[in-house]
Structures are given as C-alpha cells and as structure tokens.
C-alpha cells in the first residue's frame, strides 16, 4: 500500500467522525498554542526588561557604594548603604585615563517635592555634574543643562525633566522661573532657578527620567549639610561611566576598580561595579527560568492532548475490528494495517499542530501591546517554540498511533469477520 493510499484511508476515517476527530485534535491545538503563547509571553517579558536596562543609556558601567556593616550587630546593609563613594572618586577615575571611558558623572539622588506657584509635584532630585547629559545620552528641549561653572560655584540652577516641567508649568515656558525644592513636608525649602527642560524620553523606560529634576550636586550639598560625608568630601549614590562602543567592559571594570581601591586605600572593594551587560544577563537568567516554567506547564497540556489521541485511537481500533478483518481477508499485510492507523494518528496530530500554531501565533500577536493588569504586554513569538511544539505534536501522534496500530494487527480475521 502506498503512502497516498494510507493517507486517503486515514482522511476518510477522520472525516467520517468529524466531531470526535475535532475534539481529539482540540487537545493538541490547545497544547501547541499554549506552548507558543506562553513562550512568547516569557520572551516578551525578557525583552521588556532588556529594553528597560538598555534604555538607561548605552555602553554604561555603574559604580555604587559598598555595603555598611553595623559594628554592634555585624548586620550587613544592602549595596549603597555606606557612603564610600565620593565626588572626588569621579575626578580620580577621569584623571587615571582608563581606556574606553568617554564621560562619567556622579549622582546623588533624593526624593522631594517640587513647588512652583500653586503646583506641587513629587520628583527625584538628582544632584550631579555638567557631564550627566553626555553620559546618559539625554538632550535638552529648551534652555541648557547647567554648566560646570554652576557646579564649582554651587549655583542654584535646576533643569526639569519633561513631565516635571509640564506638570508644574503646563504650556508656559519655565525658563527663568523659580522652583522650590521642598523637603520634610515643607519644613526645609530651597529656591532654584530653571535653566533648562529636558527632551521627553517617553516609553516605559524613559518615564523614569522624565519625572526627574537635575541640580548641581554642590548646590544641593551646600544647602543640606547633613548629606555631607566625613572629610568634607561629597558623597554620591552612584557613578555612571560611559564607554566607547565595543570597549571590553570587563577590562574597564577591572581598571576602575584598581583606581578606586588605590584611592580608598583598601584591599577589598568597598563599592560594586556592574556593566549594563551584567544587569541584562542577571535579568535574562530570571526571565529565562520564567519562560522555561511557562513552557513546561504548556508542555504538560501537550502530553495530555497526546494521551487523548492514543485513547481515541485505541477505541477506534476496537470499534473497527470488522473493518480490520475485512482488510486482512482481501490481502492487507499487518504492516498495511499499522501504516493505516499510524497515518491516521499522525494526520490528526499534525492537523492539530498546524491549527495550534496559527492560533498560538495569532493570540501572541493579539496580546502584544495590550494592557494586562495595568501593564503593557510584550510578546515575542519564537520560531524555535513553533518548531518544538509542532515536532512534539507530530511525535505524540507517532507514539500514540503505534501502540493502537500494533494492537490492530493482532485482530483475528476470522473472529473479526464473524463479528456482526
């Protein structure tokens, strides 16, 4: 019997019982489509996180202060809990001429209220230096970023993020207007003059920047003496280093680390250095685990679908005992009977697989960009997930067809023909 003959017989059997065939295939359709959708969601989440990290800028290295240790209890605080990083560290790294480093800026951040007239908005105040826009690839929409002279002179100038500016001043031009930074519920306030407004970054990852406001770190400290560290140096909560594209960031990290270790006069690092790649790979390993978990759950439904196919094929063999007997009597080989039932299971499963792929890809695309639980979904359909799901469906078809098919060949033709 040729493959075409086997396929024709199988198609006829599948078509002869449409409802049953449809329900059997449904198990596989659900299995295949859920594998594709869940992997697309997992990978989409990963892409979202990666994009967010890349949205911070490009080719960046982040330095944060080390952990503090409570001398009494020995309890170690989280990263950044000690004031081990100071503004002069920025100068030291710049002076050391680490290859690949183009710009760097220290940042001291604090949460405060911005007040202009009757408007009042919560914002992250970033005390930094004039290099900040170069490090973060940020551009001003109007006015200018404060200058390095502003930093040395501790001028009371402020640059507003796009959202902060529009919330405080609406359509009006804020340049030259004064804004008060209000701390501790309004008990401490300082007046700053707006010199620039940043260009909106937009998107999920840019909104963080848009709500910020930037002031010279020195002016922030001249007003807030309590922030000042020991020895009169200016503590910073983060130093961001921009490197030229293609720089060996591992080497850069090593060199910066050496500079800081020497300057701090310590043997063990009292700071942490992470490149953007480090952050991405850390985030990726989490979301990969998530993808794997989601994929496995979907895989289980695929196996359950396969068991359904085997069950139906077994029932079908029992029901068609007489048919098998007739075919045997007119000269069908045992191998022809096996071929017939395996082809039937395979066709059922591959048809289910194809429908499942169409459905899965459709759902994935439909979900992308939609708000689910207040968060925008990102889905990335993976070719490998399609291939994998289809291969598993076809494999399931083969496996679940073989056992019933072999059972079919053990049918005794005489008994089958007597079977009315």
């Amino acid at each position: 019997m040729s493959i075409l003959d086997a396929a024709a017989i199988a198609l006829r059997a599948i078509g002869g019982n449409r409802l049953r065939s449809g329900l059997t295939a449904l198990g596989l359709i659900i299995g295949v489509s859920s594998v594709i959708v869940l992997i697309a969601v997992g990978q989409g989440t990963q892409k979202g996180i990666t994009d967010q990290i890349q949205g911070l800028g490009t080719d960046l290295v982040f330095i944060e202060p080390g952990t503090s240790t409570d001398t009494a209890t020995g309890t170690q605080g989280g990263p950044g809990s000690a004031n081990t990083l100071v503004l002069s560290d920025v100068d030291a790294i710049a002076a050391a001429g680490v290859p690949g480093v183009t710009d760097l800026a220290g940042e001291l951040t604090l949460e405060a209220q911005l007040v202009a007239g009757a408007e009042n908005v919560g914002a992250t105040i970033v005390g930094t230096t004039a290099e900040w826009p170069f490090v973060r690839d940020a551009a001003v929409a109007s006015g200018a970023f404060f200058s390095s002279t502003d930093v040395t002179e501790s001028e009371l100038t402020i640059v507003l993020g796009a959202t902060a500016a529009s919330e405080l001043f609406g359509e009006a031009d804020p340049i030259g207007e004064s804004v008060r930074i209000s701390l501790a519920g309004g008990r401490v306030t300082f007046e700053f003059t707006v010199v620039g407004v940043m260009l909106a970054r937009g998107g999920a990852d840019g909104s963080e920047f848009d709500a910020q406001a930037y002031v010279p770190v020195t002016s922030l400290l001249s007003r807030l003496q309590f922030l000042r560290g020991s020895g009169g140096d200016v503590p910073v909560s983060q130093i961001t280093v921009k490197t030229t594209p293609g720089t060996d960031q591992e080497l850069t990290k090593q060199l910066i680390s050496d500079v800081l270790l020497f300057k701090h006069g310590v043997a063990e690092a009292d700071f942490t250095i992470q490149s953007q790649d480090d952050l991405i790979s850390a985030a990726s390993s989490v979301s990969n685990t998530l993808s794997l978990l989601l994929g496995s759950i979907a895989g289980i439904s695929l196996v359950v679908g396969g068991i359904g196919v085997m069950n139906i094929m077994l029932v079908s063999v029992t029901e068609r005992t007489r048919e098998i007997g007739i075919r045997r009597a007119v000269g069908a080989q045992a191998s022809d009977i096996v071929k017939q039932f395996v082809t039937e299971a395979l066709l059922l499963c591959t048809a289910g697989g194809v429908v499942g792929i169409v459905l899965g890809v459709g759902i994935s695309i439909g979900l992308g960009g939609r708000e689910v639980g207040g968060q925008e979904m990102t889905t990335v359909v993976q070719l490998w997930s399609i291939v994998l799901a289809f291969a598993v469906a076809a494999g399931v078809g083969l496996v679940s067809g073989i056992y019933p098919a072999v059972r079919a060949t053990s049918v005794d033709p005489i008994a089958a023909l007597r079977n009315e």
Binding site: M1, S2, D5, R12, G16, R322, E323, G325, I326, R327, R328, A329, V330, G331, A332, Q333, A334, D336, P413, I414, L417, E420
Partner: protein
C-alpha cells in the same frame, strides 16, 4: 491444487480442548466446483478458513499447489489472500462508508496494481451493477451487496474462490440469482470454487459434494474431472 493431510484444528487449552477438525484428508483439483455441507459445528467453515489462509491447522499438512502454506509466514499468507484467493461471505462483509467501486478496488489497493479504478468498474459491470457503482452498502439491496462482494472477490483474478454460505442472508429467489451469477463467472474463467452451505439447492450448483460431521468427512461424491498435467504448469506461478 489443494491437498489436506490429516489436518486437525483444536481450540482452547488442554483442560477445555475443543476439536473443530479431527484429521481431515482432502484433495481438490483445478477447476473443481466443490460444495462442503454439514450441520453447524461440523467443521465446514474451519476447513474453508484453513484453505483460505485465514486460519492455521493445529496439526497436519496443508499444501496449495504443492507448497506447504499452513506454516508459511504471515506475510506470504496475506499475499496469497490478496492475489490468489477470493472470499464471499454470508454477511457480505462490505465496509459501510465506501461506495461499491471503492469496495471492489480495495484488494487492488493492497497489491499496488495499475488501472485500479477501471478494473474495479469492469468487475462491477460483469456482476450487473453498472448503475450502482457509486452506491454505498446502505443504498443497496442484499442481493446487490452480495454481487458487490462477488465482484470484489473476482477483481484480482483469483485461482480459488471461497464462498461461506453466500446465500444464507438472501431470500430463495435472490439467492438463486446470486448462485447462478457466481457459477457462470467462475466457470467462464475456470476458477476453482469451494462453497460452504447447508442448503441442498445451493450445493446442487457444484459438481462435487463433501459432507462433514463432527470435524470429519463422512461422504465425498468424488472428483468429477481429473486435474491432469495442468497442475504442474500452474504450480510454478505460486508466489514464494
């Protein structure tokens, strides 16, 4: 052509052994038209099933064209059923979803021969079903269904047709028509026929009658015509 030597067929295990055939010796030559008669349980269907390679003897030899086929592998026995034997059953044994044409085509599907459609249609025309080619069994009368089954048994140009109570489910007149058709077709083509029946009128179509009881032959009217040298010529064509 066919030679059974001490063929025994038993069912079940030692404690509850049922003997269907108790040492049958039988010889059937080319072109013979043989009726096997006997009450139910006499073993007549078992003999037919063994000759048709649907069943195997428990003991004894079954030679077809000089070859011991009782112990051939399953594969070769399936090939014999498909190419050399034709079967007609009491209950027609047609597949419910197939048209008459597809039913007749079925043996050819397994032999992978060319012009399947045309050969099947010709076989149906020979049995007088020119207008019923695309009908399903449910749309055909009993006599028509049995004629489809006859066309199916003859489409492979068999050398032996085995008919098990072919008129058992038909009324007398239709049964007589079906028997007349079968007899005419096999005699035209010189096909050997073994007919199992318990009706004397049906058995009268045959040239030779074998009566069985309790798994043994009790009467044989004998061979009508000697097989002659033809047997040796054909024996070379027997499939391996």
């Amino acid at each position: 052509m066919i030679r059974l030597d001490g063929v025994t067929r038993t069912y079940g295990r030692e404690t509850s052994l049922v003997t269907a055939l108790a040492g049958v010796d039988l010889e059937i030559g080319h072109g013979e038209y043989v009726a096997i008669m006997g009450p139910s349980g006499s073993g007549k269907s078992t003999v037919m099933n063994i000759i048709g390679c649907l069943d195997r003897p428990s003991a004894g030899d079954y030679r077809f064209e000089g070859i011991e086929v009782g112990r051939l592998p399953d594969r070769d026995r399936a090939r014999l059923r498909g190419r050399v034997f034709g079967f007609v059953f009491q209950s027609y044994n047609l597949l419910p979803r197939m048209t008459a044409l597809e039913q007749v085509e079925l043996p050819l599907v397994y032999q992978q021969v060319p012009n399947r459609r045309r050969r099947a249609a010709e076989a149906l025309i020979r049995v007088g079903l020119r207008d019923r080619i695309h009908h399903r069994p449910s749309e055909l009368s009993g006599g028509e269904q049995q004629r489809v089954a006859i066309a199916r048994s003859l489409v492979v140009n068999p050398r032996l047709v085995l008919a098990d109570e072919p008129t058992g489910a038909l009324d007398t007149r239709t049964g007589e028509e079906v028997m007349a058709l079968l007899t005419r077709l096999v005699e035209d083509q010189g096909i050997t026929v073994i007919l199992v029946t318990h009706e004397q009128e049906v058995a009268d179509h045959a040239q030779r009658t074998i009566r069985m009881r309790d798994g043994a032959i009790i009467e044989d009217t004998g061979r009508a015509a000697p097989a002659g040298p033809a047997a040796r010529t054909i024996s070379r064509e027997v499939p391996a």
